[in-house]
């Protein structure tokens, strides 16, 4: 098993944290993991992205040019990374951030209105957890339990009271994610 993932969106959407939770949860399952951010000024206002690899084998290169799974949360990210999804791969996008829907027929496409869900939960910062919940619903590479453990072990204790809300967001994301009809 080797899962090659790109998560890309605006700086501030929680792209890097989502990737870190995924990598941490994978590590807890005994997998090899790598997390490589695009670092630099592009994180301020522009796109932020992170490449995450989870694998049963040693990971040689952390640098990827195509991806099995892409989570694309704004139009610039979709324009840039849509052509780089491997045939048969998976695209998850947030309907709020995308003006021009993706048009590829050789990949699985899922949409999720995470902005609405986060507003429903009365905490806009749960946006990334809604998306993450959607991802692990359609591609169960890690479990909600793993992510809960990751949250407990990576968040400072003063934020632990927010973990049940995050768990709710994960479950809501899992319920909301919808397959778009023009995918395979």
């Amino acid at each position: 098993m080797k899962e090659e993932i790109i998560i890309s969106g605006f700086g501030g959407q929680g792209v890097l944290s989502m990737g870190k939770l995924l990598a941490y949860a994978g590590m807890k399952e005994g997998k090899e993991v790598s997390w490589l951010p695009a670092y630099g000024p592009e994180q301020r206002g522009g796109t932020a992205n992170v490449t995450v690899i989870l694998s049963d084998q040693k990971i040689a290169s952390p640098i990827l040019s195509t991806y099995h799974t892409a989570i694309l949360l704004n139009q610039p990210s979709l324009d840039r990374f849509l052509p780089k999804i491997q045939p048969g791969g998976t695209l998850i996008y947030d309907t709020y951030g995308i003006a021009k829907p993706p048009s590829r027929h050789d990949i699985n496409i899922y949409e999720i209105n995470a902005m609405d869900a986060a507003a429903k939960l009365k905490n806009i910062k749960t946006f990334n957890m809604v998306i993450l919940g959607g991802l692990i619903k359609v591609n169960p590479i890690v479990t909600i339990d793993d992510i809960r453990t990751a949250l407990y072990e990576t968040l400072p204790e003063r934020h632990h009271h927010l973990i049940p809300l995050n768990e709710e967001a994960l479950r809501l994301g899992g319920n909301m994610i919808t397959k778009v009809s023009f995918g395979i």
Partner: protein, 361 residues
């Protein structure tokens, strides 16, 4: 496998944790991307409250390198980290420390150059590190980590080598290794050496100990008599020769039967390892030779694979720097080609596969 012992962190963070854990006495630094997490992590860890390690942000890299000179001169384990333009500012001090034989650790998390360049990964400082960016005939021992684990493991190794040879050691890393997160097993916490232990290990140090029972030690790079300076140069060269004979380190992946060899270090070695796998799937006998010490260059091991090797492709994030050392090591006895990206661009394994297929012809 005990999963509890693993942490998930950036190479820069692992370096900071390892520094505290291996009993480092002092870190002096100045922020610069892509290594700012080192000073940041040390400030979070507050080792001055636990091990007593000093963490100080200097007013500039020039100040920092001279703090290393002072701290290292007292026999303490001192280190700094910076990125390419910052390391350039330190070169005068590095030459002075090589001359005065002062041990210390300098970590360069390289970014694109020349000049201020970019903040993205590069290996453009290979020559600066291996043949000396400062003045005079000197060498620095250079280690090239290729993973977050090695960013942690090489800290203690660097200090051991620095004190064994009384010489500065450079860890030549890059933006990929500094910024990426991987799982890492941090070294156990060692106590810092006591003053008595420092005195036993470093009788050359200028720390005021045992003054009543010895002549004062002098650490300087200045000498007015050229004949005395020549003798010091000869002694330094003899030391470098001992380092050449004893400290060559490398990693070999699928080299035993390799006909087409990648030579790459640091992050590029990881990409080349993936390329080796892809070429092997096509039935091509590819291998990867990874220098772990860039100086001394591991020429003996590289030469040992020559009988089967037909062609060599050196891959670097520069225009072709290590390639000279590869050609020298094998006396140009095989065709040696180069593939490089520059300025902060990092290739994927597909580009390396294509480059190798191109030279195979």
């Amino acid at each position: 496998m005990n999963l509890q012992k693993y942490a998930l962190m950036k190479g820069n963070e692992a370096l900071a944790h390892a520094a505290v854990r291996c009993g480092c006495d002092g870190y002096f630094g100045y922020p610069i991307t892509p290594q700012s997490e080192v000073l940041e992590t040390l400030s979070l860890l507050k080792p001055w409250e636990t091990t007593g390690m000093v963490v100080l942000q200097g007013e500039s890299e020039v100040a920092v390198v001279n703090m290393l000179y002072g701290g290292g001169g007292t026999g303490k384990r001192v280190m700094t980290s910076s990125s390419s333009p910052g390391i350039a500012l330190m070169q005068e001090g590095i030459s002075y420390m090589a001359a005065a034989e002062i041990p210390c650790l300098i970590v360069n998390v390289q970014r694109g150059g020349p000049g201020l360049g970019t903040i993205q990964p590069s290996q453009g400082d290979y020559r600066q590190a291996t043949v000396g960016g400062g003045n005079g005939d000197y060498h620095i021992l250079v280690l090239a980590p290729d993973s977050v684990q090695e960013m942690a493991d090489f800290v203690d190794l660097s200090f051991q080598l620095a004190f064994k040879y009384r010489n500065p050691v450079i860890m030549l890393s890059d933006g990929v290794i500094g910024q990426m997160m991987e799982k890492v097993c941090l070294p156990p916490q060692k106590p810092r050496r006591t003053e008595e232990q420092i005195w036993e290990e470093c009788s050359w140090a200028v720390n005021g100990h045992n003054l009543s029972r010895r002549k004062p030690n002098i650490l300087t790079s200045l000498e007015m008599d050229p004949h005395v300076m020549e003798d010091r140069n000869i002694a330094l060269q003899q030391k470098y020769e001992r380092m050449r004979q004893t400290e060559q380190r490398s990693e070999s992946i699928s080299c035993e039967d390799a006909e087409y060899l990648f030579v790459a270090f640091g992050s590029v070695a990881r990409i080349a390892e993936e390329a080796v796998g892809k070429l092997r799937q096509q039935g091509i006998k590819a291998g990867l030779f990874r220098p772990v010490t860039l100086w001394p260059f591991p020429e003996d091991k590289l030469r040992s694979y020559l009988p089967r090797v037909k062609k060599i492709l050196v891959c670097e994030l520069n225009s072709g720097q290590m390639i000279s050392d590869v050609r020298l090591a094998i006396d140009c006895s095989r065709p040696v080609e180069h593939f490089g990206r520059m300025g902060g661009v990092v290739p994927d394994s597909g580009e390396l596969v294509d480059a190798m297929l191109h030279i195979i012809g």
